[in-house]
Symmetry: C2
Subunit: 316 residues, 2 copies
């Protein structure tokens, strides 16, 4: 699969940080950064831009805030062709705290929002664009949104100046026919805008749904090293890079980081395909119940009790 | 996805046995059998039918031979609606040793063959049909076969009495566009025959390729518990059962076996998504080099050396 418009966005630190409260060693973040540059990754997302009031630095690592000084301390001044991104969650950031892009090492701000927050998301996205950032809006959890409400959100985005809108499978509950339908819908409602893809791997479909989206003309592709991310994780970037034919993409630097760091990380962080994540994905449910189930060593492997609990809940 | 023609075939013991020389505990085989019956699996493949001359019983377990007495000792007389299958590899079985179906607990014989063996495979399939068995032919490694040779094999199968032909992704190297093309080709060349699907998971595409095949009217679906199988393994049956809407299929009995047996097995058998299997899959190569790499504890996690070796080989 080769198409020059494709851009690969690595969100290893941002989405992977959901599993360890962004408490990555500096050496690991630097290794991921170096591998992204060497592999031809177009954009690397380093974490969240958050208000100091929203989270305590005693509980979460520096990548929950993405201060310029922390970024520069770890990766330097980023004199490369790769852009740096941070994600802003609606309600967890003070818009006035966002520095002008000309003063920041960050190039791209990604605004994550639910359909019912679209007015606020578009306001924040425009605010960031006016400060000089490239911007995307990541419309979350659309598998749980009524079609009318999704259509309204897409119409609002169509009228906005936001250039890139992400198709997001937050719960890892979708398969190819749904991705194809939504990719076509997004393009029909928002002609001229670039569509991005952010998939989760609960049913081992993150990479294949990404392929389906690429076939249907989506061009911003999120992926992470070894698929690390919340719960079942994301599209594994090493598979994506093995698949894409754009000659600038290389897989070996990514494999080196997996070899040097991530096999060890896997012993302590339970991302990836695990039965509780499959259960929430197959039920089109938020992964939070599976995450808390997996957090308890006494219960994590009792799949049947979790399955029964989830089915009881579904019957309510 | 609901279609009454769909039949799920569990090949946990047969394909999983490639990773431990079919040396499964009787209790595990019985648990998988009971779970298959309770889950509505249509056909369970227990292993290979092999000649005593082809393998030593000191090296391989009883499921490499599938003698009736071993099957009955472990699972009883199979007074259920689920059929039992065994696979016959061309050249590793004496046709005269195959008992008439009326005298055997086995219902279905699956003949596995490469395209260049098709004459012999059709002869053996007819031989088994004449003995009263249901029969499938599993046409292996088609991603490495020239189109002309594949077409000839399909034409030969079209003229045969074989009712079911499998589309097999032996190397785990294919994605949805290739599966769709082949599924359509198989149906075009062999009108009236049922097409089966046997996918491997090197690029985490086994389940999604199975979905693509189902969408394209393939109706026999191979899968295994937790995806166990050679190398990266197969389509995980617990995901398939969570996805199919046929009301007879249940996932809970399968989850129980995963919980009770397979988390422990995973500590000793390296099936599933591992980088060396990704490398051979992405290169459309037989997994044997990755399997032997993974077998050596000193090298198994040195992905870069394996990647470089594979790329050198490719340049020859």
């Amino acid at each position: 699969m080769y198409r020059p418009e494709i851009k690969v966005l690595d969100c290893t630190i941002r989405d992977g940080g959901l599993m360890n409260k962004w408490q990555f060693d500096d050496a690991y973040v630097k290794a991921v950064y170096d591998a992204c540059v060497a592999s031809g990754v177009d954009i690397m997302e380093l974490g969240y831009k958050s208000s100091e009031n929203a989270f305590s630095r005693n509980e979460v690592g520096v990548w929950k805030f993405c201060d310029d000084q922390d970024i520069r301390r770890v990766i330097g001044d980023n004199n490369t062709n790769m852009k740096l991104a941070a994600m802003a969650d609606i309600g967890r950031i003070e818009p006035d705290d966002i520095a002008p892009a000309s003063e920041s090492i960050i190039d791209v701000m990604r605004v994550a929002a639910y359909a019912h927050q679209m007015d606020e998301a578009i306001w924040l996205a425009h605010h960031c664009m006016d400060k000089g950032y490239e911007v995307t809006v990541n419309l979350m959890a659309v598998s749980n949104v009524m079609e009318r409400d999704l259509d309204e959100a897409l119409k609002d985005l169509a009228k906005s100046r936001v250039p890139v809108v992400y198709l997001v499978d937050s719960f890892g509950s979708m398969y190819c026919e749904q991705i194809e339908m939504l990719a076509k819908k997004y393009q029909t409602y928002m002609p001229g805008k670039t569509i991005g893809l952010h998939m989760h791997n609960n049913m081992q479909l993150a990479f294949s749904n990404t392929i389906t989206g690429i076939i249907n003309n989506c061009n911003y592709i999120d992926a992470t090293f070894m698929g690390i991310g919340r719960g079942a994780g994301n599209c594994p970037i090493e598979i994506l890079m093995s698949f894409l034919k754009n000659p600038k993409y290389k897989v070996a630097p990514i494999l080196q980081v997996i070899q040097d760091y991530m096999l060890e990380m896997q012993k302590n962080i339970d991302w990836g395909y695990h039965i509780p994540y499959l259960i929430t994905g197959a039920m089109n449910a938020h992964p939070r119940s599976a995450l808390s189930w997996m957090d308890n060593p006494a219960t994590k492997n009792d799949f049947i009790t979790f399955f029964n609990q989830m089915n009881d809940k579904k019957d309510l």
